[in-house]
């Protein structure tokens, strides 16, 4: 009766032929080969092939050949310089994050991430713009507001638009504009534009903007009234 079945020996026979088995398994295989004639035959045939392969030697071309080969190699080697190591771009970014490619990638990434946020913020803080002057009031998208207080709270852009409306109504281009500091706040000043108007034009404007209505500040900070 065999101690280990043939199929188990066949599984490890390859390693046995190559001397890759631990001593405990070598002992098992050798015991089995002593008992089993068919496995022994297979082992002998394999061993024969391996021995035959090892006999297939190539003749040594001699020292002259080797000297010639090495000198030809070295001659071609001395004609060149070692090439610098080619590192792929993703490794450069990974290994040298603070090199210029790292900064470039980081900047691009930040811009890509922030752009939608910036657009969203701009959209959500968009101030309503006035639409037209109706009597003493400005008509906004959100409702009506009386002119004096409205003018003081106008942005530069809005003031310019209002100035242009006034000019359109007056039939004359108003020129020049700036800011005024009133109670620690900057207000758009349309008074320089009004300076260019004639007395009649100004009277006409004053009639249009009634009851303490202001188009900004005069010199000396008096309301146009």
């Amino acid at each position: 009766m065999k101690e280990v079945p043939c199929n188990k020996i066949k599984k490890i026979a390859g390693d046995y032929y190559q001397n890759l088995l631990p001593p405990s398994l070598v002992q098992r295989v050798e015991t089995h080969l002593g008992e089993c004639s068919s496995c022994r035959k297979l082992y002998q045939e394999t061993q024969e092939v391996l021995n035959l392969l090892k006999q297939d030697l190539i003749s040594d071309p001699g020292p002259g050949f080797w000297n010639g080969l090495s000198s030809r190699i070295m001659t071609s080697v001395r004609l060149i310089r070692p090439e610098p190591v080619k590192v792929p771009w993703y490794k450069k970014v990974w290994e040298y994050p603070f090199g210029w490619p790292g900064y470039a990638w980081a900047t691009a990434l930040i811009l890509i991430l922030l752009t939608p946020v910036a657009f969203y913020t701009m959209k959500s803080y968009k101030t309503p713009s006035f639409q037209e002057i109706q009597g003493n009031e400005l008509k906004w998208e959100t409702g009506f507001e009386s002119l004096p207080s409205a003018i003081e709270s106008l942005s530069a852009k809005e003031s310019t638009r209002l100035g242009k409306r006034i000019v359109a109504q007056m039939g004359k281009e108003l020129k020049g504009h700036g800011y005024l500091l009133v109670e620690d706040e900057l207000h758009w000043d349309v008074s320089p534009s009004l300076e260019g108007l004639t007395v009649q034009e100004l009277d006409a404007l004053i009639k249009r903007i009634k009851s303490g209505k202001s188009a900004g500040f005069w010199e000396g900070q008096y309301y146009v009234s």
């Binding site: 392969l53 090495s70 080619k86």
Partner: protein, 178 residues
């Protein structure tokens, strides 16, 4: 001085150290390439290319494999390129290779010589990868781990390829014998 130490010196620009590496490895690389290409002149050219490539790219060599395994890897790529470029070329038949069965000559054993010729023909019939594995294992005496690294396959796959090749050789030799 070990291969690794010589490689470090080459990286620092010492070409004499590279010459030491050439003298140390040219024989085994040449024999390997000759067994695969089966043409001494082409083998010589290919070995020159292999060492030249090794020198040019030595700064990219990392010690995760031995220098010898790395050389074989370059060698295998060059052999692949050779066959790709000269696919239609007529090769010298296997039995015309100037290989010397030294031992048979010494002993004058005609029967062994005949069997050796059968074996050489059988090895030539093996699939390319199996022939590579047998050559690297039997003649270059590389471990299966090293063969795996050189061929870019797993060590176990190299082992399986080797055993399949031996089984095939065994059967072919058995059937070709009178």
């Amino acid at each position: 001085m070990t291969d690794d130490q010589l490689v470090e010196r080459v990286k620092e620009g010492d070409s004499r150290a590279f010459e030491d590496l050439v003298l140390r490895h040219q024989k085994s690389v040449y024999y390997f390439v000759l067994r695969i290409l089966k043409n001494p002149l082409d083998a010589e050219d290919t070995v020159q290319k292999i060492f030249l490539l090794a020198y040019q790219n030595i700064k990219g060599f990392r010690s995760d494999s031995t220098f010898k395994t790395w050389l074989y890897r370059i060698g295998i790529n060059q052999c692949n390129n050779y066959f790709r470029q000269k696919r239609n070329r007529d090769y010298i038949p296997l039995d015309e290779i100037p290989v010397a069965d030294t031992r048979a000559n010494q002993e004058g054993d005609f029967f062994d010589k005949e069997r050796l010729i059968h074996l050489q023909k059988a090895v030539g019939r093996l699939p390319y990868k199996q022939r590579m594995v047998v050559t690297l294992r039997i003649y270059q005496e590389l471990s299966f781990e090293e063969i795996g690294m050189a061929l870019n396959i797993r060590a176990n796959s190299a082992k399986v390829n080797f055993h399949h090749a031996i089984e095939k050789l065994k059967n072919w030799i058995k059937t070709s014998e009178p």
